[in-house]
Amino acid sequence: MMCERCGKRPATTYVKRTINGQTTEWHLCAECAAAEGVGLFGGFGFGVGDLFGGFLTQPALRSAGDAVRCATCGKSFRDIAESGQVGCPDCYTTFYEQLRPSVQRIHGKTVHAGKTALTGTKESRIKEEIEKLKKELQEAIERQDYETCAVLRDKIKELEDGRHDG
């Protein structure tokens, strides 16, 4: 049997995971198992639990594109899908719609309940965020990266609209 992640090497590691009664099974080669953090010391909270790449390499997600890149770390959704690694906290906002099905599969839910972050008031944080995006937009205009420009303009508009609503 070939590795279900890379499809190139023979599978040597079997990984089984059950969450909320839903069982997922994977056959991985040694390289992919290591890349997914499956090893002798699975560790605490990582390791087998981190088969995120596996969740993403399904046919529907293989068509992930490079058009949009995260403004903070420069990763595209294809980068994330191929490596199974999210680049930075802002990737979750940039690729929210693409990531949501995987998050749903992992947790069964997609909306946070519990402690909220304490950093600053919401208003001031949004203002800060808009300033940051405007700066990035200016840079994108200068290097004539119009695809990024479009994404950034949408994000700025979204934030500004949200602020007036709130």
Binding site: I19, G45, V103, T110, K115
Partner: protein
């Protein structure tokens, strides 16, 4: 010197060895540690150190893990103060540790910040309260990445939401003896929890030690996750105790307990696995009154101290396994004394 938590016995300590709360946090607008250069990682280490210095009433000292000898890094892993990943971490990572070693903060492990609080015995609420306090104090200075829908944003999506992993280290020799662990695994997985041998997976764990933790972090509050884990732990405890009572009535168990103590008190060479196996039996026999001595505290401290890294760290030198096994046997004999 303050007593280290891992050498003490807490509430329901006959079954629950320890409680751990871990919170995963990241700084805003920065790539996760695995995508950072050494210099960028160093900046984060400094920022977290500065923020920690401002926490009042809880002095945390910085440990530069990369510069420690291997045996000391191993000892930190064995005491669950750092992960195996951090023990092997490149430069630009580190550890903040309180004097009693209950509070540890891993810097630039998988996430920028991992706050961890340990307690002896069953103490989920107490451990969470302390972790929450450290989190809020650090969060005031550091601006943790947070999204209203997804909660705290973490390198691995399995930690999104609360970023909280609550774990209990359970001593379950009687349930293991009954072959009940597999059933237990299946049952708890349906309740959003996971249970596994204390180190790694697949193999029968040494000393009947099992770690049970919450699996889901998004859409469930810290309080609800803790109550869920606590409720199930209490039921498992009851089952383990009732199985032990049944074991204690058997003359074969009494014989087995005394023989185990006899080996520990006389052996000249003890591997870690062997020592742990006998200590596991002696621990429940001592807790249940089958053996008049040693105390459960003595056994618990030994179970931690005889680990290879801890043993070599206490001795202050590296030792090949054969020498270690002799040293371990001597340490156990000294702690348990001679049989009456």
């Amino acid at each position: 010197m303050m007593d280290k938590w891992y050498r003490t016995v807490g509430k329901h300590g006959d079954v629950v060895m320890s409680t751990r709360i871990r919170l995963a946090r990241n700084l805003e607008h920065r790539p996760f540690p695995r995508f950072l250069s050494k210099e960028q990682r160093q900046e984060i280490v400094e920022a977290v150190k500065d923020a920690a210095a401002a926490i009042s009433g809880l002095p945390l000292h910085f440990v530069d893990v990369a510069t420690l000898p291997e045996r000391e890094r191993l000892a930190l892993v064995e005491r669950h103060l750092i992960s195996f990943e951090l023990a092997n971490a490149p430069e630009g990572s580190g550890l903040l540790l309180s004097e009693d070693e209950r509070v540890s903060v891993m810097i630039n492990e998988e996430d920028h910040v991992r706050i961890q609080v340990m307690s002896a015995g069953l103490d989920l609420e107490g451990a969470y309260a302390l972790a929450d306090q450290v989190d809020s104090a650090l969060g005031e200075k550091l601006h943790f990445a947070y999204d209203e829908r997804l909660g705290f944003l973490t390198a691995c999506p399995t930690n999104l939401g609360t970023g909280m992993r609550a774990s209990l280290m359970l001593h379950l020799p009687a349930l293991e003896e009954q072959g009940a662990i597999q059933t237990l695994e299946n049952t708890v997985s349906k309740l959003g929890l996971t249970i596994r041998g204390s180190y790694g997976e697949g193999t029968r764990p040494h000393g009947a030690l099992y770690q049970m933790s919450n699996q889901v972090t998004l859409g469930i509050s810290e309080k609800a996750a803790i109550e869920n884990l606590n409720g199930i732990a209490v039921q498992i405890m009851k089952q383990e105790i009732s199985m032990r009572q049944r074991l204690f009535t058997q003359p074969e168990f009494e014989d087995h307990a005394w023989r185990s103590l006899g080996v520990l008190q006389t052996a000249r060479i003890l591997t870690y696995e062997e020592a742990l196996r006998f200590l596991s039996t002696v621990r429940i026999a001592a807790a249940g009154g089958v053996l008049p001595s040693p105390t459960i505290e003595t056994v618990t401290a030994l179970m931690s101290d005889i680990q290879p890294g801890c043993l070599m760290t206490a001795a202050g030198e590296d030792m090949p396994p054969q020498i270690r096994d002799r040293r371990r046997a001597a340490m156990v004999r000294a702690a348990l004394g001679r049989a009456e």
